[in-house]
């Protein structure tokens, strides 16, 4: 009898304790996770509401038509900064898209299994997360110093360098999803590899690739640090040849928000609202586009 394990070694009270501690740990985990998620959503809501509140009160029609004013003067807007931001982002994405798409194509189609492709993929992932201010310093040394001054071209190149890794990554990922049988079917018809890629794989992966370009646009539209030393800022319209400082929203917001002048600060809020809404709209469109295409 004594050798038999007795079922009463664990008293009912101890059972209760064990159960309660498991129950408590579980409850605590669930509560904490819920709390943290609520916190994340709350902070986004807070930031957006603050932006709407401050931005809308500063948003007047002339904000979109006038150029940036001097300190403490009435009126004035951010038309030159909006246009400049548009030009710089456009320049960046026009340079980055062909390079990024072709590089992504190399990684997904030509470089499968090669050591070189593996190295490039690794480096691309590093660039994807590299501090953007370092890219500003790089383009400063590469273009601003030799050309003797700030320019929109340098700003565009700096933004392109930030956009390329994003496009490379999404292009490669999207091309990899395309089933190999499509490529084989093209090759069986005697199409050379470049035709198979441009006419078949690119077409099949089009939605994903467009999503990548849109996400890259959203990413570079709000970048400030790389523009600080390349395009800088300007209180006037940019020159047609894009030499000299080019007004742009992010740097304008940075300079005006930290200024002591009330009218500048208001314009900074207006600019912040414009740029955030643009970027959020771009990201949402990119997501919807991708979802619609993959759902088919």
């Amino acid at each position: 009898m004594d050798t038999m394990p007795r079922p009463t070694t664990i008293s009912p009270a101890a059972w209760g304790r064990v159960r309660r501690s498991r129950y408590m740990a579980d409850r605590a985990l669930k509560a904490v996770c819920l709390l943290f998620t609520a916190l994340g959503v709350f902070v986004l809501g807070w930031i957006l509401l603050m932006l709407l509140y401050q931005g809308i009160s500063a948003l007047r029609p002339e904000v979109f038509t006038n150029t940036t004013p001097g300190p403490m003067t009435k009126g004035g807007g951010i038309a030159n900064a909006i246009a400049g931001s548009f030009v710089l982002t456009f320049l960046g994405i026009v340079v980055a898209t062909p390079v990024g798409v072709l590089a992504g194509t190399y990684l997904a189609e030509y470089g499968r299994g090669s050591k070189l492709a593996e190295v490039i993929r690794f480096v691309n992932d590093i660039l994807l997360a590299a501090p953007s201010i370092l890219i500003g310093l790089f383009v400063y040394t590469l273009m601003v110093q030799p050309m003797g001054g700030y320019s929109g071209w340098a700003g565009g190149v700096a933004l392109a360098i930030i956009a390329v890794p994003v496009i490379v990554r999404t292009t490669e990922d999207m091309l990899r999803i395309v089933p190999g049988s499509l490529r084989e079917a093209g090759a069986a018809l005697g199409a050379p590899m470049s035709k198979v890629i441009t006419k078949i794989t690119w077409r099949a992966a089009r939605a994903g690739m467009v999503t990548g370009v849109l996400l890259a646009t959203a990413r570079i539209a709000g970048e400030t640090a790389p523009l600080l030393f390349t395009a800088l800022n300007n209180n006037f319209w940019f020159r047609a040849d894009l030499m000299g400082g080019v007004a742009n929203l992010p740097v304008m917001i940075y300079q005006y928000a930290l200024s002591p002048y009330q009218n500048w600060r208001e314009l900074a809020w207006a600019g912040a609202l414009v740029i955030t809404l643009t970027i959020l709209a771009l990201s949402i469109v990119a997501r919807l586009l991708f979802r619609k295409e993959t759902a088919r």
Binding site: G100, Y106, P131, L137, A257, A268, S283
Partner: protein, 324 residues
């Protein structure tokens, strides 16, 4: 007619092969894509090269003392990186301490606890938080968060800990303005949360549901499933995700520049203003000439080395886990 068609035939025979032009464009396309891919390598090499080229005069002038000296005096043209290095590491560390538990909580909520209909809206919201430009976080931090932080945390806490041995230094605000290293760390935490959370969510989603289901089947609670099934499975890649977040926090510029106070002062108090490498470059680069410019480039060089090693380590950890 016959002669003409024969002539055409002859001319087409003259060409080496009908496929020749398309073969050439094939080669061109191949070379163009290879060239674009190599451009990625060239950019990285260019970044390294320009940092070393720009920073070398400062390293030559001050030697290793550049890293350990905390002097940053534009008048006397003497520069040291120590304060900025400490500020960078401290603010990034604070960001991790605050941000990592919250990000993991969100990832666990989204993958394990969330009702399916709520999954997509929350995941999208968190991802949109990552798309908000960093200057917006900076403005929010400076104009909204810092005043509240000063009023409800700094002032009461400073009163509470005044005179206490350790806490009296670390958590004492001489000037309770709301800006400082701790504020920068909190803003950085908010910025890296969506980033770490979405990677961690992807990693957790990769675990085969059967593992979880069998654990639940033998009566495990959610906590036990997380602790004994999920964590052992993906622990390494979660650490990789955290290090990716650390890479972000180390190099973040604009938000930190708004809220850290930009002072070159080594202080033991987390409430005191300081500066990070990135914020100092952003602040001073445009007015810098001569040796100051080189010193800022040298700071950039140090920042590059630190973030580069963190990111390489992170990628290796994440890659190793996904290969398995």
């Amino acid at each position: 007619m016959v002669a003409l068609s024969q002539k055409l035939l002859v001319t087409s025979m003259d060409k080496p092969s009908r496929r020749s032009p398309s073969f050439n464009s094939d080669q061109i396309f191949r070379l163009a894509s290879l060239g674009s891919a190599l451009l990625v390598l060239i950019v990285l090499a260019g970044i390294i090269g320009s940092m070393i080229y720009g920073g070398l005069p400062a390293f030559r002038e001050f030697g290793l003392g550049f890293i350990t000296s905390s002097v940053w005096d534009v008048q006397r043209d003497e520069y040291g990186a120590w304060v900025a290095i400490v500020g960078t590491l401290t603010s990034a560390l604070i960001a991790l301490v605050i941000g990592v538990p919250i990000s993991l909580g969100i990832a666990i909520f989204l993958t394990q606890l969330c009702p399916p209909w709520l999954k997509r809206p929350i995941a999208t919201t968190i991802e949109l938080l990552a798309a908000v430009p960093s200057i917006i976080y900076g403005m929010w931090g400076l104009f909204v968060f810092a005043p509240l932080f000063a009023k409800f945390v700094q002032i009461p806490l400073s009163g509470l800990v005044e005179g206490l041995p350790i806490f009296g230094t670390i958590l004492y605000a001489r000037v309770p303005s709301g800006v400082g290293v701790l504020t920068a760390g909190i803003i950085l935490a908010i910025m890296i949360i969506p980033f770490i959370a979405s990677i961690a969510r992807d990693i957790l989603d990769q675990i085969p549901p059967v593992m979880r289901e069998s654990a639940y089947g033998i009566g495990c609670t959610t906590w036990e499933v997380v602790r004994h099934v999920l964590v052992p499975q993906v622990g390494v890649s979660i650490i990789g995700a955290v290090m990716l977040g650390l890479g972000r926090a180390l190099g973040e510029t604009m938000a930190v520049t708004f809220v850290i106070g930009n002072a070159n002062r080594l202080s033991l108090s987390l409430f005191d203003p300081g500066s990070t490498i990135a914020s100092r470059i952003a602040n001073e680069f445009n007015e810098a000439i001569g040796l100051q410019l080189n010193a800022l480039m040298a700071l950039g060089c140090i920042l590059f080395l630190v973030t580069f090693s963190v990111l390489v380590l992170a990628r290796i950890l994440v890659a190793r886990a996904t290969v398995k």
